[in-house]
Amino acid sequence: MIEFITSFNGFVLLFLLLIIGATGSLVFRKHDSWANYWNSFFSIISSLWGLIFSVFVFIGSRNLFFSFKNPFFSIFNISFSVDSLAAFFIFVISLIALFCSIYGIGYLKHFYKKYDIGFFGFFYNLFIVGMLLVVTASNGIFFLIAWEIMSVCSYFLVVYDHHDINNVKAGFLYLVMTHIGTSFIIIAFLLLYKFTGSFEYESIRSASLFIPVYIKNLVFLSAFIGFGIKAGVIPFHIWLPSAHPAAPSHVSGLMSGVMIKVGIYMMIRFFLYLLQPIPAWWGLVLLIIGSISAVLGVLYALTEHDIKRLLAYHSIENIGIILLGLGGSLTFLSLGYPNLSLLSLTAALFHTINHAIFKSLLFLSAGSVINQTHTRNMEKYGGLIKYMPQTAIFFLIGSMAISALPPFNGFFSEWLTFQSLFQGIALLDYTAKWIFVISAGALAFTGGLALACFVKAFGLTFLARPRSKEVFLAKESSFSLRFGMGALAILSLLFGIFSGYVSSIIKKIGQDLGLTYNNFSFSNISFHQDLSINNFSFVSGSKVFVLLLGIFVVVWVIIRYIINKNQKITRGDTWDCGTNLKPRMEITATGFARSIITIFKKVLKPSIQQEIEYHDVDSRYLTKSRKVILTVSDIPQDYFYDPFAKIIVIFSRYVANIQSGNINTYILYIFITLLGLLFFVK
């Protein structure tokens, strides 16, 4: 059985199931519910198979490698390689896809009769195929094809709800950005091909010593930009906050939870696998960009009151945190501390899986709310905890996990990231040391701001009084939605409690990549049941959990059943200072974050614009209507993308001059080009 699972057939079965799901749902597209069940069934089955497959590959430490030579075109071989890093990502993709697909069964129902479910199922399954191919491809050209499958399928999922023009716009921006990214990746692969003579990962890796340093740096920059766009790293993030909210919620969960991590996977593949050895500044660049992404991501999230955009900005923040781990890993490795590099990489990968879990959980619960209230505007929520009690608990757990509160999983991976940064501060000198200090500071402030942001997100969505009529009509979601969310919520607690086990498993990936222990006094990293870095740091998820639960129960019992057992509780009105409390008197999402925005006004540049319409323009006493527009500026947009777009437009105008509309002129151009080519090519 194990032989079959980890054989080539087992591997192909994974894709076969998804492709059957994709084509089958197109076949059944006339019947919404058939298409839905067919598509969900096969994505669930294949995700389960993916989990089994990746676990067996991982535990068996089998590095699978399959290659099919292309007889016509020798540089383009279809080759797959599944090592422990790829197996880990297959596991993450399958895990999230599993629960998103279960959630999808119920969630898709509100698209019935409005949109084509078969069409959705086709792209949904192919999207998962694309992601799985990307992490298993072992040939540059084959990888690029997989990358395009993933990008294009996700584009169609983003614009699925195409009656809303904003979604179409968001999709277009996504398509443009992702292709700019692809072009950078193509440059990286072509450079590698020129100097190693192959697109095969194995050959590139073995020849990487012969690549000149400046070429390596160029490859680093173009790969970082290319994969950074997909990962949503600031300043390449502009597509992310508009594209993720546009997609149906379980697709947002899949995109935010998994797809952007594929960018991280490729960075690890390139920088820690293909291009070794690497200079130290690469890691430091990653640390700086990671810090910026983390802090700006959470600040922009605070300014949002569209719940899905808020979550999307938090994805940028968390990608920043992952980059802090990865950057630390690269820096330590190039400076000769492979064991610390292992620690940092473990932190990055652990945060990758944790973020996948709690971010998809948050998107799914947000989707459950949106499904009932039909709006993404947080100002129109309030008091939903009474109408959707279970969704509220799931969102609460997700919020606590993402705010890094122990004993949930987010805390332990942030803890590991902190430890690796602390090690860097203690060990390194000069520039590197101070970059680590800045990174640790950024991470500390990010933690605090994320907490504030999730008090806002949870509190203003679920607590207090309803602020619109839609809330009164909201009901708890159906079973499949609750199952998807509940399972992820439980996972996010379990990954916290058993953080020691999980990270000791993840550590193996780094070891397989060649990061090993040295006899280095300060840190033999040992993860047992508890997380501990020898003689430096210890923390234990299970003990934290038991301690908190134990004290809580004791306190509850003593107070409730011994001290205060005879007293009554009456329900009364909230104190209203003698007026009638209205929903409009509650604090709003905008108001909640306003003081933080004011404090960071140098960065966010908030602006208030008032439009007042008067009954009589001349007298200006009686106002007819008043409108206040609050905005914050997006620095990369204002100082990079907008000027860049302007330059392109101006340049295009000049280029347009050669277009006369006269066919004879065009023929002349062709003739001149031909002559030129003949001259150059000889």
């Binding site: 122990p406 500071g441 607590l463 306190v555």
Partner: protein, 308 residues
């Protein structure tokens, strides 16, 4: 013997914390030319509140009901994890600095949610301000402890305390700078001047009191007690991490008694200093508070640059 130490360790913070509040109030009353209530008044208040009926807002959900228990639990969980009079628990897996910081955030999270839950405008704005301050204080908090981590090469609080007690002289300047940073964070996190006024309910910039405005009865008692605990936790951290004189490294009866006595003197001193600070400065305008917190952070950064 070990059990005995553990029991003291668990009980000492919640038992002593109301006394600290009473003490600060007494000293403040003295500065205001009043006689003031007895230092034991907070105990009587708690006893009285625990035996009262309570009113809960109709708008509030279970978050409001459970929050006082969680906030109180968190302070106890932190209280057992910090060094108080002995460093013998140095392999305790829940005494990591980041764990303490984020566990306190856990309490803040539920406190802020409880403030929002009743739908009162006071509570909402209290939560907003609390989260703003605690977000900005977190950097200073972590970094002031990081200075000690870099000095001692441990992140375990007991180990830090033991190490610094043994080798104080070499690092006096960074420790003092980090302590000033920590002290600013202490005032912010425990709702004291110049950040917040713990004595009043009705002031425009109130923070902590605004969030717990809707509470009554046993839940109010728990909230008040938890906030007193948090105050003493921060004071104990300040006293035993930055000035760990007299903290014992063994579990002998006499040495524990001596270090317990020294601990009491140290926290008495801290409470008096905070009472004097409260009586002698004015509250800051809300938007000037970030400056103070950034100063705390920068002092910590300077302290880091002075190590080695």
């Amino acid at each position: 013997m070990f059990i005995f130490i553990k029991i003291i360790q668990i009980l000492i913070i919640p038992v002593l914390s109301p006394l600290g509040i009473g003490l600060v109030r007494k000293i403040k009353a003295h500065f205001q030319n009043r006689k003031g209530a007895s230092v034991f008044q907070p105990y009587r208040d708690l006893w009285k509140l625990f035996h009262k009926d309570e009113i809960i807002s109709k708008d509030a959900s279970w978050i409001f009901k459970i929050a006082p228990f969680i906030v109180f639990t968190v302070t106890l969980a932190v209280a057992v994890s910090i060094p108080i009079f002995s460093t013998v628990f140095s392999d305790f897996f829940v005494s990591d600095i980041l764990y303490i910081v984020y566990l306190l955030s856990f309490g803040t999270f539920f406190l802020a949610l409880a403030g929002l839950d009743s739908g009162s405008p006071f509570g909402g704005f209290g939560s907003s301000r609390e989260m703003t301050l605690s977000a900005l204080a977190e950097g200073g908090f972590i970094f002031s402890l990081l200075v000690l981590v870099l000095i001692s090469k441990f992140t375990n609080l007991f180990a830090i305390s033991g190490f610094i007690a043994a080798s104080y002289g070499q690092f006096i300047l960074p420790i003092l700078l980090a302590f000033i940073g920590f002290f600013i964070v202490l005032l912010a996190e425990t709702a004291h001047y110049p950040f917040d006024n713990p004595a009043t309910h009705l002031e425009l910039t109130m923070i902590h009191e605004a969030m717990i405005l809707e509470y009554s009865g046993k839940r109010l008692a728990l909230m008040e007690w938890a906030s007193a605990n948090k105050f003493l936790i921060f004071i104990s951290l300040g006293a035993n991490l930055f000035f760990p004189w007299g903290i014992t490294g063994d579990g002998g009866f006499v040495s524990i008694l001596v270090s317990l006595l020294i601990y009491l003197i140290k926290i008495l001193f801290f409470y008096s200093v905070i009472a004097v600070v409260e009586s002698s400065i004015a509250k800051f305008r809300f938007f000037r508070l970030p400056d103070l917190l950034v100063v705390a952070f920068i002092l910590d950064i300077i302290a880091i640059s002075l190590i080695k």
